[in-house]
Symmetry: C2
């Protein structure tokens, strides 16, 4: 299929502007959603606090894009010690509704001293046009020989602190982290390495400037003025560097999956867990019953 | 993990009520979304009408849960003849925002006489607690020997008409349809068989009654009154019967995927198609460029 008429960039500009308008609506809807569900989430928190193992059972039923990151040893820890989970769009009402903080609370456990682990993701724009979630590595106080990340999380945090202090050259911690990452298969990384994610290095200041530039460009185009093209991503190489020491590169996707699926769908996942429990206790009278139960499950998952 | 404290049904009732409250918010947000995006979709329709092959390119880039249903012969027809697609939540503003009508417009083509194919899905509740999308089979005026469903769609429509006329026994059309379905592998069914979907036989009247019963039950529970349990789905067998002659059993999922992903994301999918086109025209200078392009694509797909 040819695209001969599409060399005129005017189409692209108009489509791009329209996408920005749709994005504005999405942001408005996220704000509305946060407002309309606030009391319901508070009610849910109170209600599920009395249900033993509510959150562990939710995690046990988590969808594939979350479940794939939970190793057997992570699952044992979560099932045994997770007390509660909460998600908050902390930049609301004034700021970006896509920024989220995800908070895990734990009972006393064999693996770490922390009772709360909190990871904050800021939605930021870079001057080259990129936009997405960035974060800071959170350290976990592992008990002796109980570090599920095999030391990687601590090193990631250390490297970050070194860089903040201005040490940009190769340090001992960087070298060790690279070695660790090379020797750990990608499929074997603990869920808890997620707390080490940083993403692109975009400061709040750069975000503000990039946002302003974007708004001005949109405004100018709306007024029919000629607008210079965004600088093209010629410095993409920087990205590669930044991802080089990322111990959980898809942590931002996982954060979105938790905030937009696991957290809002918790009652649904918990109910599924209960049904499964009931099923495995049941004496199966006939194969037909099994088929029915499967059919029902499939339908239940539909919205 | 045990669930010993959970035999008290009170938790389930409260969780269920809370889920209804969350559902109300979702409905309200869908209504808001329809209102806030109405003008933007109208603007998009006007804009893309001038872009050759916009909708075919969108379908070419459709996500796996849509793409898996598009057979090579379907793709050829869509790529060559699809003029436009539109989705409308036709029961708004007063009715259920989950009811959708999906309309395909076609240029003159070798396969059928129709220039418009429209499929309506009503969101309905049954008295046994089930809720979901139901529809009516749409017939397509195939040209001689050009029926991509091999006659199944016409038969599905005929069976539906017979049943509406009160013929509940085994007819010639039913027998032929069953034979056809048995001889067609599930993986080989045409995308156009989707127009034959019926779903559960829930009338508008049953929906109204079921909705009323549900509202009354919720209200009573809110007032702290004892409420009788919903009848349990003892007549699940009916479901099996109804799905027996369904030539595209997951048509409702596909309708949701089109309405909530392909339709709102059309500009994104079109842009992807253009980028891919540009990529395949490009002389690759080095492997590094490829890696970068991949990386960018991955990031672009993120929200």
């Amino acid at each position: 299929m040819s695209a001969e008429n599409l060399d005129t960039p005017i189409f692209y500009e108009q489509l791009e502007d329209l996408e920005y308008d749709f994005e504005d609506v999405e942001m408005e809807l996220l704000r509305q959603q946060a407002k309309l569900t606030k009391d319901l989430y508070a009610k849910r928190e109170k209600l599920v606090a009395d249900i033993p193992n509510f959150w562990p059972l939710v995690f046990e039923q988590s969808p594939p894009d979350i479940d794939e990151y939970i190793q057997p040893s992570d699952a044992a820890l979560l099932l045994g010690s997770l007390k509660s989970l909460s998600v908050d769009r902390f930049e609301l009402p004034g700021g970006d509704p896509r920024s989220v903080v995800i908070k895990f609370e734990f009972f006393e456990n064999d693996h770490f001293e922390n009772t709360t682990l909190e990871k904050k993701f800021w939605y930021r724009r870079a001057k080259d046009g990129w936009a997405g979630l960035v974060s800071e590595p959170v350290d976990i106080q592992w008990k002796a020989d109980k570090d599920l990340t095999g030391g990687m999380l601590g090193l990631a945090r250390k490297v970050w602190e070194e860089e903040k202090a201005g040490k940009t050259d190769e340090t001992e911690a960087k070298k060790k982290l690279k070695e660790q990452m090379d020797s750990t298969g990608l499929g074997g990384v603990s869920f808890f390495a997620w707390f080490g994610f940083r993403g692109r290095d975009v400061s709040a200041e750069e975000d503000r400037e990039a946002f302003k530039i974007e708004q001005e460009r949109r405004q100018a185009r709306k007024e029919g003025k000629e607008v210079e093209d965004e600088e093209d991503d010629d410095d993409d190489d920087d990205d590669d560097d930044e991802y080089e020491l990322e111990i959980f590169p898809t942590a931002d996707d996982l954060a979105v999956a938790i905030s937009e699926d696991l957290w809002p769908g918790a009652i649904k996942y918990f109910t599924q867990a209960q049904e499964q429990d009931a099923m495995s206790d049941m004496d199966f009278e006939s194969d037909e019953d099994m088929d029915e139960a499967d059919g029902e499950k499939k339908k239940d998952q539909k919205k």
